[in-house]
Amino acid sequence: MIMQVKWLKKQKTEEPENVVVQTQDNIVRGGNREIIAVTYIFMALFAGLLAYFLYFMIVSRKDVINNSYNQRQKVLAERTVRGKIYASDKTVLAETVQKNGKETRNYPFGREFCHVVGHSTEGKTGVELMENFNLLTSNDNLMTNMQKMLNGEKTIGDNVVTTLDVNLQKVAYNALGNFRGAVIVSEPKTGKVLAMVSKPDYDPNPSYLNPNWETLTKNSDDSSKLLNRATQGLYPPGSTFKMFTALEYMRQHEDYKKFSYSCVGKEVQDGYTVNCFMNHVHGVQSLKQAFANSCNSCFAYLGTQLDVKSFRKDADSWYFNTKLPTSFVNKPSSFVLNGESNKEEVMHTSMGQGKTQITPLHLNMFTSAVANGGSMMKSYVVDHLESNNGKIVRTNKPKKVATVIEETEAEKLTSFMKEVVKSGTATSLSYLSYSVAGKTGSAEYDSTKASHAWFTGFAPANDPKISVTVIVESMGTGSEYAVPIAKKIYQAYLGN
């Protein structure tokens, strides 16, 4: 490029008399100076185009070609044997094996990892989808690959090493038992997902999946076995949403410490009534106590004291109504309050009912952000890719996506969540040798059915190692159904 510029300059100095030409009719006509300007303008356009093209090839290409609409995987699959998927300790979670001369995909753990690892024979999901093209790309030794091609053999695709912990996954899988719901366990400081379970489940092995595919997709019993509830299930947050309301109240009211509310088991405003769970009368409550006891009346009242517009703005900054920063396919959570919402909606939303919907993954990421001093990390499950001969092809590093709350706010919220365990709705976690910070929830979605049970929290509270989010569909309260599951996971990872 520099050479061309020099060359142009040379041209210019060689023929200076050509720059502006005087013609017979005494009109000044432009000439070479303008032509050089035009050349530079076009050079700039093309420089932009080339820079963009390089950016596409180096950065965005990987995500683009992984799209399920890209049909070229069939071409790649004819040349390359799909790579393996490993747990963090290199236990095989998925591999392609030869069976009677035919290739088949084998998932040794069957149902236990079905949603997070996914399947690859009936469309692609999970890690199989995320890393589809990398699994079908071979960065093996060049000579080996040449030799293979000469012999007409397939090359071996790269392997994916995930962040998943086999033991933790098993504990979570068994703890959720026969309930419908989801469990996510992650590392707050890095965003690594250690375990992810969704139920009901299915066997991803082709011997089961292929013959049962039609029944699985027909969905007549609305069990949605294929849906990964952890990332795509939208649930009313119930009382876990009180984390957000409390945070917003503290933001808008500096004197929140003086706050006191006298609970009579219900809160009535403008003819709208909100009841506490089982019409329980909590008596005089500070903000912390109301949070720990999950007092609905108090939080409905708090909602009426909020500037709804700023609440909406903050909720958006907490990743409501937008795609989550994660490599998982996910549904955006929704928070629909705005300046025009009526009082009933505000009261219900503030205590976690109303139209708000949240995915377990979102709640887990937010909980982790609280544990991590307010910094939200990108949630990811692929640690690195390595070639068949063990060379590391690409490593995913922990990535901070945003400071969603201030460090002081994180500290306050943590102390609130510790109180939940100490004296509130999750006291069964207080007998552990380390302190847990958490919040329970019982989300009502249909007055004739039992509520969804929630728990989200992290431990140890002073040096968070894992954050756990649990949802159990339509069984009852968070304390009764979700907390025991979380407890088993903490015990398995951090001891008694």
């Binding site: 050089i36 050079m43 070229r72």
Partner: protein, 447 residues
Amino acid sequence: MELILTDLSRYVIALLMGMYTYWGFMGFAAKKKTRNRIIRRQRSLMYLFHFVGHGVIYLNTGDVKILGIYICELAYFVGSQILFQKIFSEENMPLVTQIHMLFSISLSMLVRLDFDIAKRQFVYMIIGTVLAAGMPWLLKHMKNLSTDGWFYSVLGVIMLLLVMMFGTTKYGAKNWLIIGGVSLQLSEFVKVLFVLSFAGLFATESLAFKSILKMSAMAAAFVGVLVLEKDLGGALIFFICYLFMLFVATGKWSYLLEGFLAGTGASMVAYFLFGHVRTRVLAWRDPWGTIDNQGYQVAQSLFAIGTGGWFGMGLTAGLPKTVPIRESDFIFAVISEEMGAVFAICIVLIYLCCFIWMINIAMRVNDMFGKYLVVGYSVILLFQTFLTLGGVTKFIPSTGVTLPLVSYGGSSVLGTMIMFGVLMGVNVNEQRMVNDNAGQVAEETKD
């Protein structure tokens, strides 16, 4: 065996193309003798690429017809080189070499995609070559080319209007005219007339504001009709071409600036008025969300380029069937898929190389009419290239124009070859005039 050869050919092709492009740029700095050596080197690389490309396709398909067309193409390259060298002198051989390289890329890709289309494209190339060869003669013998500006522009607008009234719609734009079974994209030829008429006007008319206003109104008529035909790419090309010609002729930055502002304003109006403009913009902003309809073309194009990677899947080893309009508007995506991004970047650089040679010609012409002609054609060719490449790679919204000399299309090849012929013809005439003057001076001093 074919597999490993195809696989190896990816690197060979990228290497040949890389070397070719490198020498293309080295040519600028070189003295005449070295320049000739460089061109010989480039030609060898071109022939090698042509051989490897067709060879790989033959190995994979085993179709003997490919050997036949290869020999015909080879004969054409050798023959047209001799013809061009005679008509356009050594001076223009760098441009001729680039034309041949782009042709060989086009033919290799089209032979791989669809033999019949390649055959037709080859015929168009031959006709285009003959037309281009006739241009110096035409420039020399049609004395009033520069003075009949108004006539040519009226003729151009009438041609466009004909298309608007009797044309057929393809890919959303009504810019095809079918005469006796031959479908023509008349706007490709109107481009030639457009530049011809305004080069004449700028060179002969007064450049006072009133006169400029009159000419701009005429240019606006072209753009307006094209917009009505929904040929947005075409409209944009004419507009940009006029703007830059106006700027070069008047030397006034203010015209360029005002023109851009007016253009931006007009685009906004078009965005709100026309649904098809919004569709293109929507597809550009988020092809993934609209992948089933508006975003389909761009998404498929990006899949092809992205999956191909730096060195491509190898000729015949890709999946070009998924890319819509793969022979013409989106041929760059298909080339990038099978021959790789390195190769594709080299193509972009080759166009830049062409542009610099054209500018080189423009700057050395003393005759204003010739100068503006060359500027007009170079701007059209380069801007059209920019629109295609930008659209295919999602740098800008897709406008549906062809990649000059590479995309399949008779009108496009013929129109482009006429432009190249005129460009080089202007240069040849200039050389002859300089030589004549020199001869006169020499004779005078003799006396």
